[in-house]
């Protein structure tokens, strides 16, 4: 479980996060949703420590980020896996090298055991056969799957995904969502996903934080999101005609 407590973050005089508190639960796909520019990426990067927060604290299963020493933070980082908005694969490494990279840097296991683990992860994301290709030689959907495999290779406790299905066609997007959902259950980890895709919300929205201009706009799960009274959330949810229609049908 990751608890964030009153997080503030500004860039110069631009106040992006204005006191966010939330509990991200273990074994669930926790979503951070909100419009473009609402601060999702900044929040996620603050949680993993890529941004230094101005105020507040982050508790990783009751371990306070603010009270940790630098070494403890690096230790904690080996329990994290992250999938970035643009995949962020290393261009000069093959698929296999990308996935094996965290193990190369940290794992004290034998070469053989490492290779086995990498092969396991490649298989888990259905990329067997693409081991020797470079990121520029594979499709966007495959890049996302490589990024997911790289994020889980060290068997993390915490998985972070920044818009894992942006830029993908709806069918591939669902495959990625399902993959992350399954992995979360399989390893019983705390997964946090940024998204503005309503399909993802309906697929895997087990615990949702709606960000509204850097503030907590709404909390809940997918079964309640259509019945909320929150105006800003409604605008976000029913932005497309399809969901507007769905709502009308439901109301009738």
């Amino acid at each position: 479980m990751i608890t964030i407590d009153n997080i503030h973050k500004s860039f110069d005089d631009h106040h992006v996060l204005k006191g966010i508190s939330f509990e991200f639960e273990t074994g669930k796909t926790n979503l951070i949703i909100g419009q473009s520019g609402s601060g999702k990426t900044v929040l996620l990067k603050s949680i993993v420590g890529l941004h230094t927060i101005d105020k507040g604290d982050i508790l990783y299963d009751n371990r306070s980020w603010q009270e940790m020493t630098q070494d403890q933070r690096i230790e904690l980082r080996t329990e994290m896996g992250m999938v970035f908005q643009g995949s962020a694969l290393f261009d000069n490494m093959t698929v296999e090298e990308n996935i094996g990279f965290p193990m190369l840097m940290y794992s004290k296991e034998s070469t053989k055991a490492k290779q086995k683990r990498v092969a396991e992860c490649i298989d888990r994301v259905n990329l067997t056969g693409s081991e020797d290709l470079y990121p520029s030689e594979i499709s966007g959907g495959m890049q996302k799957r490589v990024a997911i495999a790289r994020a889980i290779v060290m068997k993390p406790e915490y998985l972070f995904c920044d818009e894992p299905n942006s830029g993908l066609d709806p069918k591939t997007a669902i495959v990625i969502d399902k993959l992350i959902h399954e992995i979360t259950k399989e390893y019983n980890i705390t997964t946090i996903i940024n998204t503005h895709d309503m399909n993802s919300v309906l697929q895997i929205g087990e615990n949702i934080l709606y960000l509204d201009k850097g503030e907590v706009g709404w909390k809940g799960d997918k079964s309640h999101i259509f019945n909320s009274e929150n105006e800003s959330l409604n605008e976000f949810v029913f932005a497309s005609d399809l969901y507007q229609k769905l709502k009308e049908i439901k109301e009738d």
């Binding site: 993993v48 890529l50 980082r77 992250m82 970035f84 962020a88 694969l89 290393f90 965290p102 840097m105």
Partner: protein, 245 residues
């Protein structure tokens, strides 16, 4: 104010770069890779430029000797002195600032803008150290060797051009090359070479690492790296010459 901030940021970056590598085997592998990228890949350009500059320097020396009483071995002597003292260190470094500096800045800058550096940081890897240290160490290793190469190729160029055109005999030229040789000039130039190598790679890494935004910013960082390291090379050339000679 902005300038002072940048200097502070640069030193903070250097502090991160010069910490102990997390995994030595990985560091040495990267170092070997960079030796190839910054070193072996630069041999071609260094050879071509040194050869032609040596050839031209020799001819210029010849045409400037209007007094027929001046011995022609001064052509060989002059070519050697120019290459040894200034061309093979300062000019070659300026050229490397353009070639190596821009490529390092754009490589690291692209990694920043595509979040590859964030990916390293999330893994708990000291990204500044992982990315920049092998490049800096590689150029500190290879640039002094490129200097020696440049001196030899340049003098050969001068010899071939002046003998072929007939402004000097082979014997005279070789006599000139060997005349009044001061080994300290090599020490002086190698010190410059090491300082310039550090300027080129550390500045380029810094500008790449601190890119914010997209490809436009990456281009800007790479220009800044080349311009500023060239200026810094020229200034430190002046300072080092005053101190060392």
């Amino acid at each position: 104010m902005k300038f002072l901030e940048e200097i502070g940021e640069y030193f903070y970056f250097m502090l991160k770069v010069f910490s102990k590598p997390q995994k030595h085997s990985v560091f040495f592998k990267q170092w070997a890779l960079e030796l190839y990228k910054v070193g072996v890949d630069s041999i071609g350009i260094v050879v071509i430029i040194s050869f032609f500059m040596g050839a031209v320097l020799a001819l210029q020396a010849a045409y400037n000797m209007t007094n027929p009483l001046m011995p022609t071995y001064l052509i060989g002597y002059g070519t050697r002195e120019s290459m040894l003292l200034e061309f093979s260190s300062t000019i070659v470094s300026l050229i490397l600032a353009g070639k190596v500096g821009s490529s390092i800045a754009s490589e690291i800058g692209t990694m920043r803008s595509t979040e590859q550096i964030d990916a390293l940081d999330v893994m708990g890897i000291n990204s500044a150290n992982y990315l920049a240290l092998p490049k800096i160490m590689a150029s500190l290793t290879i640039n002094p060797i490129l200097y020696i190469l440049s001196v030899f190729v340049g003098i050969t160029g001068g010899l071939l051009s002046s003998v072929t055109i007939g402004v000097s005999s082979l014997q005279d030229f070789i006599y000139g090359i060997r005349m009044d040789f001061k080994p300290y000039f090599i020490v002086y130039s190698e010190i410059k070479m090491v300082v310039f190598a550090f300027i080129i790679t550390s500045l380029a890494s810094y500008y790449g690492y601190t890119v914010r935004g997209g490809s436009l910013e990456v281009g800007r960082a790479s220009t800044k790296a080349v311009v500023n390291s060239s200026i810094l090379i020229l200034i430190s050339n002046l300072v080092l010459t005053q101190i060392l000679l």
